[in-house]
Subunit: 218 residues, 4 copies
DNA sequence: CATGAATGAGACTTCATTCAT
DNA sequence: TATGAATGAAGTCTCATTCAT
């Protein structure tokens, strides 16, 4: 998110001379970014297109050159966020085989990103609450690691759906804590450790895996 | 819903009531109940005072004899819900000493009630998302059991806040699953078991405690 | 137009009204009257609720206390106009037996009113163009006279539908002429005479009937 | 619709055309044709330039290379329609001397075309309602036949303007009936017969003339 | 010329809130 | 206190029109 804001700010600055008439194809991205900034900033409530237009420095009508309805805007924002999210996760856990380790990496990545970028955290919280598509995508990512860990004998749970919901809830719950300023040191590790225990790992094994160093981004 | 009416009425009896006061309280309660019915009925979106007035069979203006703003209505609804909630939990785990068992009972009660009364589940989901007061109350209830279990050596976690957030998140997550029709058999037991494991109990101990029969309501 | 207001007010007095209802009815009438004034004033185009609110000196929101949608407003205006229209006609041709004479009176009344009240003419032209209900009502009024005249042997036409459309078209056409300032002296008589001839009366008979004095309004 | 293209192309040939002019004319004609197709297709409501651009497969901006405003587009469409109309009529009644017969042919042609080509009927109805130019042109065509019949002693009416309005109204009224699916067999003949009677012909004479075979188009 | 992104006025509609009765 | 008519800000969406490329 912060990266987005910086790059957008730069763009804004160079374009203020031409009063926004040179945007064309980039405008859609501008709109999505603006929406994410709004989500990031606020505590509750729905995104309005008035706000979006102002944040993106375009007129109301412009939004409708890119989206047919308000719903489409929200959907696009959800997709953008989901895209970033799933990319981040899959890049990081690329070479990892163990389901339990992948799960740990996924959860920690999710939480770490939220700690590093509270704007992103807020946006995710908002979007995940309103957008079913986002929820499914998150669930799909988690489910594969869950099944892998179960096949390998690391995990032990009586119901996959319940386990899935638990992992997702814990991750989102951590995001909420962080967004409310209640983050703690090593939040990612602590959450991952508890999640792994909930999934059946022994305390020692859970602690060991949760404390493994995160793979570096190349 | 009826529980709400009773508890609120009881609170009223602790004051000296004139007839006017009684009627005032009655109408106010009518409004809160109507709001809960609306929350219960719908999937998403905000409560409007139009709806509320119609559901309660009063005119728009009447609402403003009992609440200054829409926000106050929502707050009152949150309080009413929180009231029932904490009563239910504390009644049930009244004679139980063990923190782990109290925790299990609390979580299972929460989930069981959601399964039995999807209207209540929907209302809680709505309110908890918008009302900070409700969230704190839930947290307070959980925290005491958490600390008890920790003191007794049953629980083992590295950070109380993180553990607290985890328990609450899992419970709310279960409510969401149930509200979306994704409930499973023995949902309450499965969730409680995983939560106990997350809090450091061994698999066997977690399973045992989670499967204890719930205390009967007298 | 002023006639409109009077007749509508009379209707109001005949109902049993509570205080609230009276005011409500008054505003509703204000809105309908304002709509008629707007129709009367303009050359073409659709009625907008902005215009209506301004003309009626109420705010936009007030309109929605009386009508659910813009369509309902238009419908109400059409009904109001249709009501006046059919009342006027039936009052005037009350004691007349002959179908041909009733037809003549109806057509002449219609045209005379348009000449006397060009606002009314404009409103009718507008409404009849957009509102199917209005068209049906006019058609129903004409059809009975048409059938009466045919049964009595005065009229002679090969197709009732065609005859009906002809009468209505001629009357509306006359309204258009008048609204455009192309009215002529005895416009009503001239139109009625031609219509009667079209319906099969001899020139002499058509002229005689078309020139009969209109019944007085008591 | 193709008739429109032909007639416009013929008009063009009377000028010396550069390649640029030819292309310009072609695109302009494309736009007018597209507008006619839209009018033909729809029941009610106004033409929007969005629709027009899409139907003509050009971009919004292109329209403004050919017309200054939306009004100009509508005007051009009206002219195109009026052009075809008057050509059709005058070709058909070319060799006919009698005013009454020419009137009958004109009315019947108008109605027959509407029955054969409901797209044309819809377009005419739309345009004639909004475009004064179209109305005048129709009136001019009728007036000459009206005067001829009057001079010849066939017609007998007390006011030319009223008679003119009556004929036009009846023709448009027939179009409306047809567009609403209320057409009847020999609609053209029945309307022509009634119009002729309205203009003073005897029943027998009106019937005879209205039933004359229409001249063939060579 | 053609394009289509951008604009902004203005349409319909909702809804929390006020106030006279 | 109860009512409900009135309000007006704010929201979603449309569309004629402009302008840089």
């Amino acid at each position: 998110m912060s990266t987005t804001q910086v790059s957008e700010s730069e763009v804004m600055f160079t374009e203020q001379l031409t009063r926004g008439h040179k945007k064309k194809a980039k405008t859609r991205q501008t709109l999505v970014d603006a929406a994410l900034r709004i989500y990031a900033r606020r505590g509750g409530g729905e995104l309005t297109l008035n706000e979006l237009a102002e944040e993106a420095n375009v007129s109301h009508g412009t939004i409708y050159n890119y989206f047919q309805t308000r719903e489409e805007v929200l959907e696009a924002v959800g997709l953008a966020l989901a895209d970033q999210f799933s990319q981040s996760i899959s890049v990081l856990s690329a070479g990892v085989e163990s389901g339990a380790e992948r799960m740990s990496i996924g959860v920690r990545m999710f939480v770490c990103r939220a700690m590093a970028d509270s704007a992103w955290a807020n946006a995710v919280i908002h979007v995940i609450h309103y957008d079913e598509g986002m929820r499914s995508l998150v669930a799909a990512n988690v489910r594969s690691d869950l099944q892998a860990g179960f096949r390998e004998g690391s995990f032990e749970y009586s119901d996959e759906e319940v386990a899935l919901a638990l992992v997702v809830s814990c991750a989102i719950g951590a995001l909420n804590s962080i967004a409310e300023g209640l983050g703690v040191v090593d939040h990612d590790i602590k959450i991952a450790e508890m999640v792994l225990k909930a999934l059946g790992l022994s305390s020692n094994e859970a602690r060991r895996i949760a404390h493994l160093p995160l793979p570096k981004i190349i």
